[in-house]
């Protein structure tokens, strides 16, 4: 029952024709960033969440193909990575979220100062359901739980920017501005 006998990682042999033919999603740069973090942790599994963020920061989502590749890099089964990924209810998978990802807080302090109304109005103005992305791929509007900015309620986190004391009108104007991508 030695480690050499460990049967790991149901899935394709990376050298199989099918896997080679499959288009690689992770760039060498992404893999390098992941590997650069490896010395920080005593095992590879701890790289899972950082790896998801590295891919997500570039692609604005983590498609299933990326999950397979991340798993291969980390020596895990795809199901193990997907398990962790879906827990957070944070990573889009089917298609990229908008270039601006607007988290609209709906927890108690913002709700007391119009957070739910803000979300509802922004969705209506942009023609999306909550968690939806506009057709032009520019904007995603998502409800978020407490953003930790209750001193500026109601607030929105748009990429790296905290938008404070928002109204539906000021928020709409802010969200239409071009914005640096999220870290």
């Amino acid at each position: 029952m030695g480690a050499g006998n460990v049967r790991r990682r149901g899935g394709d042999n990376p050298d199989s024709p099918r896997m080679i033919a499959h288009r690689k999603v992770l760039t060498d740069e992404m893999v390098a960033k992941i590997e650069a973090l490896a010395p920080r942790y005593p095992n590879r599994r701890a790289l899972t969440l950082p790896a998801l963020h590295i891919v997500n920061a570039e692609l604005r989502h983590v498609p299933l193909e990326a999950v397979v590749e991340i798993a291969a890099v980390l020596g895990l089964a795809p199901a193990e990575v997907q398990d962790t990924l879906t827990f957070y209810q944070f990573f889009h998978q089917e298609k990229p979220h908008g270039k601006v990802r607007a988290f609209v807080c709906r927890s108690v302090s913002c709700a007391l100062r119009g957070g739910d109304h803000l979300l509802e109005q922004l969705c209506a103005k942009n023609g999306v359901e909550p968690y939806g992305t506009t057709a032009d791929g520019e904007l995603t509007i998502e409800p978020a739980e407490c953003l930790g900015a209750c001193d500026f309620a109601p607030c929105i986190l748009a990429n790296d920017d905290l938008l404070k004391n928002m109204t539906p009108e000021t928020a709409e104007a802010e969200l239409k501005k071009p914005r640096a991508r999220a870290t």
Binding site: H53, S107, S109, L112
Partner: protein, 451 residues
């Protein structure tokens, strides 16, 4: 009453206050240098124990005592995890500390690592604080450059690395072992205890998990002394040997229906009324408060008549709240429906329940559905009894769940229904005149908009 001169918040408003130069000009890192030059880890533990510092993350456990749970003579590695996953609704003081005075936090981390013999400190930072991320990374880089981090710090045998580890918007990662599981790359399902993290924590090694504000306090205690810390706050009750007191300054977050929401530093023990009126400019729009959350939504509600409760570790418990929690005070005015409040709370906890154990996973989901149904005009009086029963039976305190999220979900339900039952009953009767008295189960409604 003279306003308390901020210590933890002393860098707020100072230009470039987040830089190492600014921090050092305020006396920062001198305590660390003195400690490394002449003290032992045990000395630092004693200092923190004597100060009476209690964890600022929500549980209020005496910090120095927690450090002593680590096994003696362990070959290591020992880990320090800093819980910067601040997600308790109403709470934002950690954000301000990290953005405006990251070095205060970092010096505290280094001192705490020295005390606990931790060789690596992971700072688990919630995703939603990108500005904190940048400030912290910048400060960590400055600390390495100044020789306060890395190998053989200041020529001693003490080495330390601080790594930032970013979360992904899950509240349960603020639970000690949920944080650990998340850091290890798994879903953040809190662990069963025992073993406790001090024995088997991160990567199954001895681990201490401390809050950001706690780290800032460690810096200040090292700089200004134990006596200074103990001169602030509420001393231990001499007739109760089990009471550790409520010492030191506290960052109170004030939000909701007040004129001036903000983070205010005051000695532990000011009352909610003082905080609201003196710091917060009073309830907004000339209204009165209907209910006030004393320490983050998990702590439950105080009524207007309970606002003279001191906000120290012992106070809120005396009026039926769960405790001081994160000292995040949220004011709900008298024109807000308590039903809406409870629905908001239930929605939060149902969304954030990790789903591991049956009573919380199903209890939070069921209570949300009941409140949705009440809000949709199909509530029954019997629902209030069911909600109370759920609230009374789920949680770490009765022993039915693995972690305290369920207790946090339960307390707002228990407080809201017990303290505002009349309002709930009126609402149900008014909105469901034909069905409020029914006691049989009803067919579930299509839930619109619930996440």
């Amino acid at each position: 009453m003279t306003p308390f001169k901020p210590v933890l918040l002393e860098a707020v408003g100072v230009p470039d206050g987040h830089t190492i130069a600014s921090y050092k000009s305020r006396g920062g890192y001198a305590p660390l240098e003195a400690t490394l030059a002449g003290k032992q880890p045990g000395d630092v533990i004693e200092m923190v124990k004597s100060s009476g510092l209690r964890g600022r993350g929500g549980a209020g456990f005496p910090t120095g005592l927690k450090w002593t749970f680590l096994p003696k003579d362990h070959p290591g590695p020992i880990y320090l995890c800093i819980n910067a996953d601040e997600s308790e609704p109403g709470t934002f003081n950690n954000r301000i500390l990290m953005e405006d005075d990251p070095h205060q936090v970092i010096e505290g981390i280094i001192l705490s690592s020295f005390a606990t013999r931790a060789s690596t400190a992971y700072l688990y930072l919630r995703y939603e604080y990108p500005q904190s991320w940048h400030r912290l990374q910048g400060a960590i880089d400055e600390a390495y450059a100044a020789g306060y981090l890395g190998k053989n710090i200041r020529g001693t045998s003490f080495s330390l690395d601080i790594y930032l580890h970013r979360g992904a918007a899950a509240y349960i990662c603020g639970e000690e072992t949920g944080l650990i599981e998340s850091l290890e790359g798994k879903r953040a399902w809190p662990r069963i205890k025992p073993p406790f993290p001090a024995i088997e924590g991160l990567f199954r090694k001895p681990t201490v998990v401390n809050n950001i504000e706690t780290m800032a306090c460690v810096s200040q205690i090292a700089r200004r002394g134990v006596d200074w810390f103990k001169s602030i706050g509420v001393p231990a009750d001499p007739s109760n040997p089990r009471d550790p007191g409520s010492y030191g300054p506290k960052l109170y977050c004030l939000s909701g229906h007040v004129e001036k929401p903000g983070c205010y530093e005051a000695p532990l023990g000011i009352t909610a009324r003082e905080l609201i009126d003196r710091f917060g400019g009073g309830v907004w729009k000339g209204r009165k408060a209907k209910a006030v959350i004393p320490g983050g939504i998990s702590m439950g509600l105080m009524t207007e008549s309970e606002l003279d409760t001191p906000l120290d570790f012992a106070g809120p418990g005396k009026v039926g709240c769960l405790g001081l929690g994160t000292a995040a005070v949220v004011v709900i005015d008298d024109q807000t429906s308590i039903v809406d409040f409870l629905h908001n709370s239930a929605r939060f906890f149902a969304h954030e329940s990790c789903g591991q154990c049956t009573p919380c996973r199903e209890g939070t989901s069921w209570s949300l559905r009941i409140l949705e149904r009440i809000k949709a005009g199909k509530g029954r009086l019997k629902d209030l009894d069911i909600l109370l029963e759920i609230g009374n039976t789920m949680g770490m305190m009765p022993g039915s769940t693995i972690c305290g999220l369920a207790d946090g979900a339960a307390w707002p339900m228990k407080n809201a229904i017990k303290k505002f039952r009349g309002e709930f009953e009126d609402y149900i009767k008014r909105t469901n005149p034909s069905g409020w008295m029914v006691t049989d189960p009803v067919p579930a409604l299509q839930i619109v908009g619930a996440h």
